[in-house]
Amino acid sequence: MLSYFFRKPENWRMYVQETFRQMYAMGVGSLLIVAVISLFIGAVITLQTAYQLVSPLVPVYVVASIVRESTILELSVSVLSLVLAGKIGSSLATELGTMRISEQIDALEIMGVNSRSYLILPKLIAALITIPGLVIISCNVALFSGFLVSTATGVMSSDQFLFGLREDFVPFNVVFCMIKAVTFSFIIATVACYHGYYAEGGAYEIGAASTKAVVYCCIIILVFDYILAQLLL
């Protein structure tokens, strides 16, 4: 399937337009759920870490450092990608599956359009740009939420939280976060599009293809999460 992407598009402008349409649908369409999830991730991880680190031997700002590392390395990228696999992955699979059974894909082929390329390449590029963007937003929202919760509940002062955020910061962790985000984006787009594009039958099969797409996306994301951690950390 991927080999079809590297053929020359029939009309670049149409591909770019479709990419922007997909970016809008994926990005703006997922913004609310990303914000809500990130808000709670940051708040909960802050409270739970503070709860576990009640010791006079551990400085309180360490809570902020742990929140930072947990958020950047795992929660705002892996957990969010699993959520996006459900939201974006099922949406892509359903869209393509519906196009398949309603003969819209056949119509494109008859017109002489490379349907795999026209339908999947813009979605892949949109996912590769949008999902890492959502991950960056998620990291910021989660850390901000942690900051608000820690100061509002008296876990630590704002100065202590900001000091903890900066203390022992390893810039490579952000690079690692982005490598994971791009990898997971690729997995979500390709696996979901594959299951949608090759769906056959009726409404039941589209549902099954969509479910399968989400399940496979989640499993592959978790496997790659482990592989990347093993290789890069």
């Binding site: 029939e10 009309n11 402008r13 149409m14 349409r21 519906t98 309603s102 003969e103 819209q104 056949d106 119509a107 082929e109 008859i110 017109m111 002489g112 359009v113």
Partner: protein, 255 residues
């Protein structure tokens, strides 16, 4: 002209097309008729390359389409328009965007030229003023008409229609049939229609091919179809008692 040369197709162990040969001439509406499962849709899909034939050839103006590479087929497909059973309109686009899609993808026309061409096509199918509606906002008959407009927007040489009357009331079916007939003659297209609607057969059947169990069982035109003397064709056409009586009375009137 389109020519089928002994095309055969098997799915698993079942041979669906058992060697079909036929010719389809420009300016004529050719109908492929037959019962469900006779191989009509497979024949049509083989003709446009959505299904590959196992053997035999589909020829477009003497060029062997079946033996072409994907890139070569794309050139032929620019001359093909197809109306799908459900319209196959793109849900995310308006009617206008649907019809303009092939122009946007392949033509080098200016925006104004494209708009003019789209308006002409929509006018031709009596859908002027409906440009900004989405497929979900229009009826089944209108969807078919938009499908026709999209199929002819590139002025194709070949038009394929898969069950254009399915799901439509008799009056709307007649409108669609007349439209297909008109554009075939006006644009001198080679039109192939896959149907089991007898009204269409009698209305636009310049050339009729009857498929039965994967074989071409009979070939003729609308004047000949009622008196073919072919048992399978008669069984197909005069399936109901009502139609049998109609034929008897028709014969009495004629003789």
């Amino acid at each position: 002209m389109i020519e089928l040369l002994d095309i055969r197709k098997k799915f698993g162990g079942q041979e669906v097309l058992k060697g079909i040969s036929a010719q389809f001439q420009p300016g004529q509406t050719s109908l492929i008729i037959g019962t469900s499962g006779s191989g009509k849709t497979v024949t049509l899909k083989c003709m446009v390359g959505l299904i590959e034939v196992d053997s035999g050839a589909v020829m477009y103006d003497g060029k062997n389409f079946s033996a072409m590479t994907n890139e070569e087929r794309i050139e032929i497909r620019k001359d093909i328009g197809m109306l799908f059973q459900g319209g196959a309109l793109f849900d995310s686009m308006t009617i206008e965007e649907n019809v303009m899609f092939p122009l946007n993808m392949f033509s080098k026309m200016t925006k104004a030229e494209k708009q003019k061409r789209v308006d002409e096509c929509l006018d031709r199918v009596n859908l002027s003023g409906k440009n900004k509606l989405h497929p979900s906002e229009i009826s089944g008959g209108m969807k078919k008409r938009v499908g026709i407009a999209r199929a002819i927007v590139m002025k194709p040489k070949f038009l394929f229609c898969d069950e254009p009357n399915s799901g439509l009331d008799p009056k709307t079916s007649l409108v669609i049939d007349k439209l297909i007939r008109e554009i075939t003659v006006d644009l001198n297209m080679t039109t192939v229609v896959n149907t089991h609607d007898m009204n269409s057969v009698m209305e636009i059947g310049d050339h009729i091919i009857f498929l039965w169990q994967g074989l071409k069982n009979w070939e003729g035109n609308k004047q000949e179809v009622l008196h073919s003397g072919n048992k399978e064709l008669d069984d197909f056409i005069f399936a109901s008692e009502f139609l049998k009586k109609v034929r008897e009375n028709y014969d009495k009137l004629i003789h």
